[in-house]
């Protein structure tokens, strides 16, 4: 099987990002700013006070399109930093990506889509955003505090991470449904705004899916290991 290159601390940040542009998202969630000249990944991380080990684990996990849990996970990530990363990702989806997509979608369907259909599509989208919000807020309000306590050596006897694992649904499924609905049944003419909104839906679907994969294959296994130690 052809495996994509595994990036190391000594590789140039520019090479990583220019070869894999979607890693821009990872970069900014780790608080790394652009303008890195010829510096290596390690140098850029130190300069921006990002945890290089965790950054590389996430980046390599995504680039190699792994979809299984990583072994000996706690040797290659810091949970504190991974939580900050996940939190920033949640903010990105809830405060930027989804509102932005809603504006685009509204623009796309405002002229040539019958009013009632436009209304139903918008309602569908708004309900979806509520679901994503609920999903992510559960993690922010229940899972993250639990893990932060765990890191301090305090274990909540009433909670464990398999509860999260069981109820952790695939948040991208409903946006996949929106994609189907628009492709199969959209009654309007389409056009530039429509295409642009649809492209955004495709990429949002993918980003949400990979976000979930990180939670399932890096975050959850790391907590499982931590629970065993305490």
């Amino acid at each position: 099987m052809y495996k994509k290159k595994e990036y190391r601390e000594t590789d140039k940040m520019f090479d990583l990002i220019s070869g894999n542009y979607s890693m821009m998202l990872v970069m900014s969630r780790f608080g790394i700013e652009p303008g890195f000249d010829e510096k290596t990944i390690g140098e850029v991380c130190r300069q921006n006070k990002a945890d290089c080990r965790t950054f590389l684990t996430v980046v390599n996990f995504l680039i190699q399109k792994r979809d299984t849990p990583v072994e000996n996970i706690n040797d290659c990530i810091s949970l504190e930093h991974l939580i900050v990363y996940l939190h920033n990702a949640h903010n990105y989806f809830l405060k930027f990506r989804l509102p932005h997509l809603r504006r685009k979608l509204t623009e796309a369907i405002k002229d040539d889509c019958p009013e009632d259909v436009a209304f139903a599509i918008t309602k569908f989208f708004d309900e979806y955003v509520c679901e994503v919000d609920k999903h992510m807020m559960y993690e922010e309000k229940t899972v993250f505090p639990y893990v932060r306590d765990l890191l301090k050596g305090k274990k909540n006897p009433k909670y464990n991470i398999s509860i999260f694992h069981k109820r952790h649904d695939q948040i991208e499924l409903k946006i996949t449904e929106l994609k189907y609905l628009l492709l199969k049944y959209y009654p309007g003419k389409g056009g530039n705004w429509f295409n642009s909104a649809l492209f955004d839906i495709f990429s949002t679907e993918r980003d949400l899916a990979t976000h979930n994969q990180i939670e399932n294959n890096l975050f959850t296994p790391a907590i499982l290991e931590l629970e065993k130690q305490i």
Partner: protein, 202 residues
């Protein structure tokens, strides 16, 4: 369309594990998600966490546990188990496996065995592929769902059992690839099954 399969390979030797993975990835028509399990201690946890569709396992790794136990305790009753053989193995030990593969199997042989598994599961789906258009009854039910009625209410209205309604709803979801009520609303309005004014709750 590619068939998605989640396969766990439980085998101690890394060379053989990777070998099986490389062979699998050569097969066309599939998209595999592969989970590697390298020790019998990790077997239960890995199966429980990943819920693979198929477990390819060296019978020596199963140890004293029976496959039945493994399926039950990991909550993965529908998992198929394939024995991975590269030495002569006692027949008795193999009778609980759904299928066997050996390291001398050809690619075609491997493909056939996988396809057989899938055939059993997708026969129902195939029939549906031929008719994705909703029946009159199913359209009636879509309208009810969109209006916010519960299964019980729909059953009473159409003189059917709730069980039948649930089956209809499952078929609708499969035919249209739409699972949510708000998604059905879009479908129903576009296809003029309802008008906005019919939907009280909006």
């Amino acid at each position: 369309m590619n068939i998605n399969l989640k396969i766990a390979i439980a085998e101690i030797s890394g060379i053989i594990r990777s070998g099986v993975e490389v062979q699998l990835r050569k097969l066309t028509g599939f998209h595999f998600q592969i989970i590697e399990i390298d020790s019998s201690e990790r077997l239960y946890e890995a199966v429980r966490l990943n819920k693979p569709d198929i477990l390819i396992i060296n019978p020596a790794m199963a140890g004293g546990h029976t496959l039945h136990q493994l399926r039950e305790e990991t909550g993965n009753l529908s998992m198929k188990c394939m024995a991975l053989l590269y030495t002569l193995t006692d027949k008795n030990q193999l009778r609980y496996y759904d299928e066997q593969i050996t390291i001398y199997d050809t690619l075609d042989g491997l493909k056939q065995k996988l396809e057989q598994f899938i055939l059993q599961e997708t026969e129902d789906d195939k029939e549906d592929d031929e008719q994705q258009i909703l029946s009159v009854r199913e359209k009636e039910i879509v309208v009810c769902v969109v209006k916010g009625m519960t299964n019980r209410e729909i059953a009473d209205l159409l003189y059917l059992s709730t069980h039948t309604i649930i089956t209809h709803r499952r078929n609708i979801a499969r035919k249209l690839q739409i699972h949510s009520a708000s998604g059905l609303t879009v479908y129903a309005i576009v296809n003029k099954l309802v008008e906005l004014s019919d939907i009280g709750k909006l």
